[in-house]
Amino acid sequence: MSISTKRRIFLKGSLAAGAVGAAVGAGLLSPREVLAAWPEEAFKSKEINVALKTLLGADAAEASADIEVKAPDIAENGAVVPITVETKLKGIESITLLAAKNPVPLVANFGMGKTADGFVSTRIKMGATGDVIAIVKAGGKLFSAKKEVKVTIGGCGG
């Protein structure tokens, strides 16, 4: 990268920071809201490991038998695939859902409070047959489990 492009990026970065600073100063955004902002970078990433690294700070997750991913074996309609993640792990900090074959694999991330049970159920979109991956952060470590879902596109019931 040449010096001039670096300088350009640096200028862009400082301009953006300036705009946020101005918004905070004007009381448009409270500092807490800025920190807790929606993780845009992770949700743009097309690679699972990059998304996890951006979101959770690491991409190495240990496969765990203590996490159960409930999903249908065959989803006739990829637009609505019910997914339930349950885990008995202690000290859960977050549960992350990814669909491996989606253009943007990261689907949802749930920050879990201290009183929350290791349970999340929702419905996701799946573009093609592939694994649904659940990443559970517990006690500062990442654990994972997955389940393959066959997606029948076009709803012909095969």
């Binding site: 807790a36 929606w38 993780p39 949700f43 637009a79 609505v80 695939v81 019910p82 339930t84 669909a99 989606n102 253009p103 943007v104 990261l106 689907v107 949802a108 991330n109 749930f110 920050g111 879990m112 409070g113 009183t115 929350a116 049970d117 349970f119 999340v120 159920s121 929702t122 419905r123 996701i124 979109k125």
Partner: protein
């Protein structure tokens, strides 16, 4: 602000409260094209969803447009009958809604 977009139910059994929420929202990814005009349908999806119990956040979700249209969410936490549960969301256009219910 949107209104009446969330259907919320919270029930208690054995000291655990199960919350079920059904939200009316298009959850548009922004990558689909309109079948008639061929133009991209702009992204419109819920980015942040919050489940609060007795005034404190219990589950904070960050979503992409990969969550299905008219999203469903169920979570569980320790609590008792009569407690207040509140679910709120915010989408990428800055629209919001929230609803509260008592645990039964």
């Amino acid at each position: 602000m949107a209104s009446n977009t969330i259907k919320l139910r919270a029930t208690e059994a054995d000291g655990m409260v199960t919350v079920k929420a059904l939200i009316t929202h298009p959850m548009e990814l922004g990558t689909r094209k309109d079948a008639k005009t061929g133009e991209l349908i702009p992204a419109h999806f819920i980015q942040e969803i919050n489940v609060a119990h007795a005034g404190a956040d219990v589950v904070k979700g960050d979503w992409s447009g990969g969550v299905s249209k008219d999203p469903y969410l169920s979570v569980r936490f320790a609590g008792k009958k009569g407690d207040e549960v509140k679910v709120s969301w915010k989408d990428n256009k800055g629209d919001t809604d929230s609803v509260a219910a008592q645990v039964s």
